[in-house]
Amino acid sequence: MDQFRVLVIEGHAEESACLRQLLESFAEGGEGLRPVKFNVFGDVEAALTEYAALRPDVVIFGPQAAMDATADDLQRLRARAGVEPVPILCVMSESQSITSASLQSGCDDILLKPYNPSLIRLKLAALQRFCNFGRSLLAQRNRIRRHHADLLQEQASARQIFSNLGHESCLGQTEAIRYHLSPRAVLAGDVLAAAYGPGGKLMLLLGDFTGHGLAAAVGAVPLTSIFYSMVPKGFSLGHIVRELNTKLHNVLPADMFCCAVMLEFDPHKRHIRLFNAGMPSVCLRRGSGELRLLESRHLPLGVLDQASVDEAIIHIPVEDGDYLYLWSDGIHEARNLRGDLFGEERLMELLGTQVPEGRYFDRILSSVSRFSADQHDDLSLVEVALDDAAPWRGNGWVLEDGPAKRTPRLGDWSIHFTLGPEELRDADPLPLLHSVLAQVPGAGSFLDPLTIVLGELFRNALEHGLLGLDSNLKKTDHGFAEYYRQLNCGRRQLREGWIRITLRCRDRGGRGLLEVVVEDSGGGLPRQLFTGNAYSGRGLPLLRAICRKVQLEPGSSRVRAVLNWGEAAVPRKKTGTTAARQG
């Protein structure tokens, strides 16, 4: 068994002999006391020198030494003991009053002389239990410290992984998006992802996983990997959200889910689609100052195995000077010293006041941190300046895929692709065509304009050719929503009809012509597409800007567009921003 180590300080020969004799009687231990081992030193200096080697459990000042002991001596002894509480006892005779100097030096207890061995044994045994308790407490503290250090190390690794995951994002490349994610964001379960799809559509996702710590962070891995793999392939918002939901439902435990807002901004058609599943309302601040809240319309991702997302997606036309504000519940739930919540009302008040710059991002952040006296930092805030959110600025794309690859040969080929009613009900043919074309040498630099053209022509065939929807509906906010309701409804009820897409490529010495023909089984494009300014408001000029030739006629269900392969121009400027509402 471990020994109970006693360090004795006594210079007086007789007194020290007396103490030795007393302590010898405890050498065998017993009655709750471990075997006592002791060392005697003549003065404090000698004791200090040997202190570290001996690691005493208790220090005793003999009667003579106790009279000379100063507060400073005791301080130095305690300093040697470090954080371990090593009691210091002073021997006093019964005649000494308790106001004596040695008590004022700050000892922990006294031993009375003449010695009563039974009482001293009791006292030492009590101190020994006290020491044991202190030791085990320290050992536990050290273990917790080690675990905590490991935890911090793991969290640092998690942060590192997440910053690498975000490398595909366009967040750092565009000035249109300003964001604040708390340094604890990863482990608080907040995720922000943004990327451009082919054709220049901006996709952005702000998510908030339930729970905290690594479990919350781990869920973000499948979320971001699906996002960054599907967005560049041109999948639609609905498809990506459904995929995210299914994946999260499969991987997350039943009590975990992810609240998320995902939006798609089409800079050509100038509208946004937005899906809010359990996040606080997104605020659309119009250039006019009008505020519109886009509330959650769906269960959080991962709750249901099959999500019906289409009804929950809202479509909103964008006007000049519009901004979007997204936030996590950290802002709503920021509290001041009195415990009041910051809340949505204060946010609306902030966004409702006019500021000259038109940018509210800094104002929101600074007033939340002032409100909560900087005690809160688990909030996420994102601002999207929609005017600047297109991937091009002035004369070129801001985001380049790297140097254009020269391709020796394009080949002569054609693809025919026919979609029946079953497919048209919910399939999105563009990612498929996209992935086929991505295999064609030299198609890389061409995909953006081609995606725009295919997207335009396909939607035109579906919405106007097959379903006969009236674009004039889109002139009002209400009509805009109604248009998309009719589109969803009409698609689901399709029982017959088809759309055929034909792509034909001809190689002319490294440059080539690509012909895109889209036909449908409908009764021909309605005349108002050409006379009204609805479709022609944005769609047609956009097509004409990209293509060498666009042929479409009222009453016909066939549209032909020809692109110059290898030198196709993507529109460098916003098209038709003045015709704000029509899409």
């Binding site: 729970g211 009590d255 609240c259 599943a277 359990g278 959650s296 709750v303 509290r335 415990g339």
Partner: protein, 114 residues
């Protein structure tokens, strides 16, 4: 750190005399700290109740961990649903703040909220 004083939540439950309906009450903050008590309230009941009510009248606050616990309760009921009638989970008497959180999360689509 939360500056407001933490109010310890209490979970209590009550089974109707015929054992068909279970009412679980959560008083105070419905958050991660009550997850053991909350699960204990509905597990190991034999025979299983046909109806579950979570009475939120004394619930001051509810966070996403609590939403997760409600989903676990829902799972528990669905796995139990061997009888002809589906087992129902009702959320009752939510205050404005709690009701707001349930609405944002669209929990009315999978729970009966009254």
């Amino acid at each position: 750190m939360n500056v407001s004083e933490y109010t310890a939540a209490r979970v209590s439950s009550e089974l109707s005399e015929n054992g068909e309906a279970l009412v679980i009450r959560v008083a105070g903050s419905f958050d991660f700290n009550v997850h053991r008590d909350f699960q204990r309230a509905y597990q190991n009941l034999s025979p299983s109740p046909r109806q579950y009510c979570v009475d939120l009248s004394e619930t001051l606050y509810l966070d996403s961990a609590a939403l997760g616990m409600l989903l676990l309760l829902r799972d528990h009921c669905q796995n139990d649903g061997t009888g002809a009638e589906p087992v129902r989970v009702e959320l009752l008497n939510a205050n404005e703040h709690v009701g707001n959180i349930l609405t944002i999360s669209n929990f009315d689509k999978i729970f009966t909220i009254r």
